[in-house]
């Protein structure tokens, strides 16, 4: 009986302790559902907690100085994929209610599938009585919302997709704020990459670039130099040591694979560059430790020594290095953006259709793009005007913040995207129409066939890359530029999911057989 009371007392004590020893001055337990006189802003975001903390705090203070009390209600259903699904399902539900309730019109599976799907660029005009076209027009003219105000973060690919679907609307800043948008402030394009939407539906809040994070201890142990190009990840000594994020799980990761392809195309032309990039990606895949759905996992695993090198968005690499610097081990991890081989991407912010707090939402967007907001990305924590708890170490969108006058306050960013020599110019026409197909090909060629690919590449390396096996490994049947931009891209656009599934199975079966043949040839020394 005594032990029973002891157990229950222990349970109560464990529950009570965190509340009892909570430090004085810790933030209050705020229920952001409103109450009091606070205005509320609802933001959906894949950004991590440090970004949410710094921008939430700074915007509250900024608004307080203007006599307004504001609370931000952050919504984090997951990464960009979950957010995309979430927004699509919420807008579908809201619009259905509008269509069947306010407009009293019948709902159908075709309307559900089509009212957020833009027609292809060369599609003929819709016929009179086309219910899907009518529903789409009603949606685009409506103020149907889903209770959210702002979409913050996620990559330009995601925001462009949401904008085309009609879920984003013009925030009214692009045409009215020449201090923010224009040649003197944030240019519309940088190296061929759009930094804001000409229709004002999304605006880059900061810049993301792509590179590699690496563990110096592991590279040293393997006798490898610090990497300087994407090709470094194809070195067979890195077998099982390359951490890669799966491009079919994240638009940002897809962007990094697109960058590898663009780098090769810049050197060898579109078709030959595609072929060279596919062969390089296949070799990198042959060294893969895994293809993860979490981009942060790559940086964390490299930092922990569980992988030697990995593809990585710039700030993950810099953030991890900052952390290790704080505990006295800055040498453990490094980040490099391959010079002249990395493209940039805008990390946007946008106003959602039917935002319930539109004025406050637009104010927040303007704040993020202002000097006050941009300093939060770029400055060290504690620097005047900078973040207070976390150094975010991200590339600001405002060119002036790269000036020498901010050198002392700025975190060690290591690159200036406005410096043409550091970056690869982006050619939208080369790869943008194939963006989804690239992720699909990488998934079927490398992710789904990972064990066979790795066994083949291992056998190839151990045999010293004999000619017949190497030629077979480099064979691009079914993933050449013509096939991917033709039948595969068409299957991915089809309304029938089975068309995509059939290509998926065909590519997987083809590559498994190919890799087994390569391994057999290599073991035979041919």
């Amino acid at each position: 009986m005594i032990s029973r009371w002891v157990a229950f007392a222990a349970l109560l004590a464990i529950v009570a302790v965190p509340f009892a020893v909570r430090p004085r001055g810790a933030p209050p337990v705020v229920d952001e559902r409103g109450g009091g006189e606070s205005e509320r802003l609802v933001i959906v975001t894949p950004h991590q907690e440090p970004v949410r903390f710094e921008f939430g705090r700074a915007f509250r203070e900024w608004m307080a100085a203007r006599g307004r009390r504001v609370e931000i209600d952050w919504r984090t259903p997951g990464g960009t994929v979950e957010i995309a699904r979430y927004l699509a399902s919420e807008y579908t539900a809201s619009f259905r209610q509008h269509w069947t309730g306010a407009l009293r019109r019948p709902w159908s599976a075709r309307i559900a599938a089509g009212f957020m799907t833009p027609p292809p660029a060369n599609a003929p005009p819709a016929l009179p009585g086309d219910e899907v076209a009518a529903a789409r027009q009603v949606f685009l003219d409506s103020d149907v919302g889903c209770g959210l105000d702002v979409f913050f973060g996620g990559g330009s690919v995601e925001h462009t997709r949401h904008a085309r679907a009609g879920r984003l609307v013009d925030a009214g800043l692009v045409g009215t704020r020449p201090d923010l948008f224009g040649p003197e402030a944030i240019p519309q394009q940088l190296g061929g990459q759009a930094l804001w939407d000409k229709q004002g539906r999304w605006m880059g809040a900061c810049i993301a670039s792509f590179g590699m994070c690496f563990n110096r201890d592991t590279l040293g142990r393997l006798g490898l130099p610090i990497p300087s190009s994407w090709a470094a990840m194809a070195d067979p000594r890195l077998h099982d040591q390359v951490a890669i994020a799966d491009p079919s799980k994240s638009g940002s990761v897809g962007k990094s694979f697109e960058t590898i392809i663009q780098a090769e195309m810049a050197q060898a032309g579109v078709v030959e560059g595609w072929a060279r990039a596919m062969r390089l990606i296949r070799r990198i895949g042959g060294n893969a430790r895994y293809f993860t759905d979490s981009a942060a996992k790559v940086a964390l695993d490299v930092s922990a020594g569980d992988a030697a090198i990995g593809t990585c968005i710039d700030f993950y690499g810099r953030f991890e290095r900052e952390t290790l610097t704080a505990i006295g081990h800055p040498e453990r991890v490094g980040y490099v953006a391959p010079r002249g081989e990395t493209a940039l991407d805008a990390d946007p912010i946008s106003l959602l259709r039917g935002a319930p707090h539109r004025e406050l939402a637009v104010t927040f967007i303007a704040f993020v793009l202002s000097d006050e907001g941009q300093k939060l990305w770029a400055f060290r924590r504690g620097a005047p005007g900078g973040p207070q708890r976390y150094t975010l170490a991200r590339l600001p969108m405002a060119p002036r913040l790269y000036g020498d006058e901010f050198a002392d306050a700025r975190a060690d960013l290591g690159e200036n995207p406005f410096n043409a020599g550091d970056r690869l110019d982006y050619h939208e026409a080369w790869t943008a129409p194939l963006f989804g197909a690239i992720a699909f090909v990488v998934r079927t060629m490398c992710v789904d066939t990972e064990p066979e690919l790795k066994a083949a590449y291992r056998a190839l390396a151990q045999a010293g890359f004999p000619p017949a096996a190497t030629a077979a490994f480099d064979d691009l049947t079914l993933v050449d530029h013509a096939t991917v931009s033709g039948p595969i891209a068409r299957a991915l656009r089809s309304v029938d999911p089975l068309a995509e599934a059939a290509w998926s199975r065909r590519l997987v079966e083809h590559h498994r057989a190919l890799y087994r043949r390569v391994a057999a040839l290599a073991r035979a020394g041919r």
Binding site: R4, A7, A10, L11, I14, V15, P18, F19, V21, P23, A26, V30, D31, R33, Q48, E49, R52, D73, R75, T76, P77, V81, A84, S89, E90, A93, S94, Q97, A113, C146, D217, T218, R221, D240, S248, K249, S250, R289, F291, D293, S294, A296, A304, G305, D306, E320, I327, G328, H329, R332, Y390, G436, T449, S494, V495, D496, P497, L498, E500, A501
Partner: protein, 572 residues
């Protein structure tokens, strides 16, 4: 009221309770499930199709995934049974130094919060992990060529880690069964010349076999749907990981939902097979008043061997827990046996973090309410199952056990689908306030444990006590309130504590349904911290440490109420 009137009233009450339970399961289990799975049967034009199901079988990757999932499930079950039965026998039959302490540590692997446990495993088995550091320091390994434990023999590692995570389920079951084995039967067999293995095979094993089957089916199902361990080991070609990855796919992948349907069919088939194999009377296995065997004191060498063997198993299985504790307190832990420098900074930062304290408060609120709902629903279903034995109650029983077989993510998407604006359950919309939906989701997922606990308790309460009360004029409600519920209370309370503890660790529903930071439960807070760069994992470990202590205390409460019958939770 006449006896006839009471009988009619009782039948009416039972019917009403059965209808209410059936409606609750239909509304909160089958409907969300069907919403989530309809994508497996609808083509691009919204017409019914079986093409996706066929597509799964035609795809070699999915076939390999299913084969690997079955391999892991059966492999882990085999290892967990060997380790679990051996551990239970050792603790039941032998007296040795450290027996009580080691016995108390056996359930630890069930209490490590997900994600954090994964970090713990990596901290031990990673290339720059503690195990390699130990081997390098002992001169058994070249520092230039550390072993990549999580890659070398990945299938075996996944099987072993899953088995070590789940062997306490077998242990608790067999321990409970051994507690009810009448020693006089064994003594009689010994008197007739049965010794050693023959005695075990002929007398002990048949007595504990229903429990072994029960826990076996739980582990088979758990192993078949296990996601955490293969994810940690980056083992992609397993059904559960393929589903997880497919659900996160940017593009459309209807085969994923077909895969979920197949997994569901496989788990339900396993469940049905187990029920057929062990029958329905396993709950009454305990023999009240039987004389218990006293453990035999071993020789010094025997004690060392026994304590060493048990310590090895318990230690290996509890390594993730230990790693979480050290990680929460470590200043830096990289390529060393133990952390370099200890600090309370992470604990301090975690407690001061604006996400953490509210998340503890939120979890306690959600989980308390869900546990109360579980007790009401689970207790009623158990009563119907044990006392009425109709076909409908058998269906209710099977329905209540179904959540064991359904991946959490699938249910979470289903709940979102039925609570959207414009749908009948839109008043539960988690965007406005996730409390109601999270309470329902937690309650449904942990319902099997309360039903099993209550059913086991009811099976041990003689129905003659209720009949005696009825014959003395008590109505059905009075009998329930004055006789059945008081006798059942320890089982309900212990089942409630267990459901409470496991709900605190519920991941999938928490991730998807709690979207407002102010409404995060503790698992979502851990996940958010875990995903954060920098000190995120250390803060997650600190919060995980709290969750672990909380769970240990909760299980201690359950043990103090139920003792060796704790294994009843893990029986089908």
């Amino acid at each position: 009221m006449t006896a006839r009137g009471r009988a009619v009233g009782r039948r009416g009450g039972v019917t009403a309770a059965a209808i209410a339970c059936g409606a609750a399961l239909a509304l909160f289990l089958f409907w969300p499930l069907s919403e989530s799975l309809r994508g497996a049967f609808l083509d691009g034009n919204g017409r019914f199709t079986l093409a996706y199901i066929g597509g799964v079988f035609r795809d070699p990757i999915y076939r390999a995934g299913l084969a690997n999932a079955l391999g892991i499930a059966f492999g882990a079950t085999l290892v967990a049974n060997v380790v679990g039965i051996g551990t239970a026998l050792l603790l039941d039959r032998c007296q040795f130094v450290g027996r009580r302490l080691l016995g108390a540590l056996v359930p630890l692997p069930l209490m490590v919060p997900p994600f954090v446990g994964a970090v713990g495993i990596k901290q031990i088995l990673g290339q720059a992990g503690a195990l390699n550091a130990v081997l390098i320091r002992a001169g058994l390994l070249d520092a230039a060529h550390p072993i990549d434990w999580l890659r070398a023999g990945r299938f075996a590692v996944v099987v072993l880690l899953t088995a070590l995570h789940l062997y306490p389920v077998v242990f608790l079951n067999v321990q409970a069964a051994l507690a009810s084995v009448n020693v006089e039967t064994e003594e009689a067999a010994a008197g007739l010349g049965a010794r050693g293995l023959r005695l075990f095979r002929k007398v002990t094993l048949p007595a504990i076999l229903p429990s072994v089957f029960g826990s076996t089916s739980i582990i088979l199902i758990w192993g078949l749907t296990e996601l955490g361990v293969p994810l940690v080991c980056d083992f992609q070609r397993v059904t559960s990981v393929q589903i997880f990855a497919g659900l996160k796919d940017i593009g459309r992948n209807p085969l994923v939902y077909a895969l979920v349907v197949l997994l569901l069919v496989a788990t339900v088939a396993l469940y049905a097979a187990t029920r057929l194999l062990i029958g329905r009377n396993h709950g009454a296995a305990a023999v009240k008043g039987a004389r218990r065997r006293q453990p035999r004191r071993l020789s010094v060498a025997g004690q060392v061997a026994a304590a060493g063997a048990l310590g090895l198993v318990v230690g290996a299985a509890a390594l993730p827990n230990l790693a979480v504790v050290l990680l929460a307190l470590a200043r830096d832990w990289y390529a060393t046996v133990l952390p370099v420098g200890l600090t309370l900074d992470h604990v301090r930062l975690a407690i001061g973090h604006e996400m953490v304290i509210p998340s503890i408060g939120n979890s306690l609120r959600y989980v308390t309410l869900s546990t109360l709902l579980d007790l009401l629903l689970g207790g009623t279903i158990a009563f119907l199952v044990v006392r009425t034995r109709s076909r409908f109650s058998a269906l209710l029983d099977a329905g209540a056990m179904l959540p064991l077989a359904i991946p959490g993510l699938v249910m979470a998407f289903g709940y979102l689908a039925v609570s959207r604006e414009g749908r009948p359950l839109s008043f539960l919309n988690p965007i406005v306030d996730p409390t109601a939906l999270l309470v329902v989701a937690y309650a449904v997922r942990r319902l099997p444990f309360v039903v099993r606990s209550a059913a086991a308790g009811l099976a041990q309460i003689s129905v003659t006590l209720e009949e005696a009360a009825a014959s003395l004029g008590a109505g059905p409600l009075r009998t329930l309130g004055r006789v059945t519920v008081p006798l059942l209370a320890p089982h309900l309370l212990a089942g409630g504590v267990f459901a409470f503890a496991l709900s605190m660790l519920e991941v999938s529903d928490s991730l998807l349904l709690a979207q407002r930071q102010a409404a995060f439960p503790i698992t979502k807070a851990i996940y958010e911290l875990f995903q954060s760069l920098g000190e995120g994992r250390a803060l997650a470990a600190a919060l995980g440490l709290w969750a672990m202590l909380f769970l240990i205390a909760a299980i201690a409460c359950a043990r103090s109420l139920l003792g060796r019958k704790l294994g009843g939770f893990f029986r089908l």
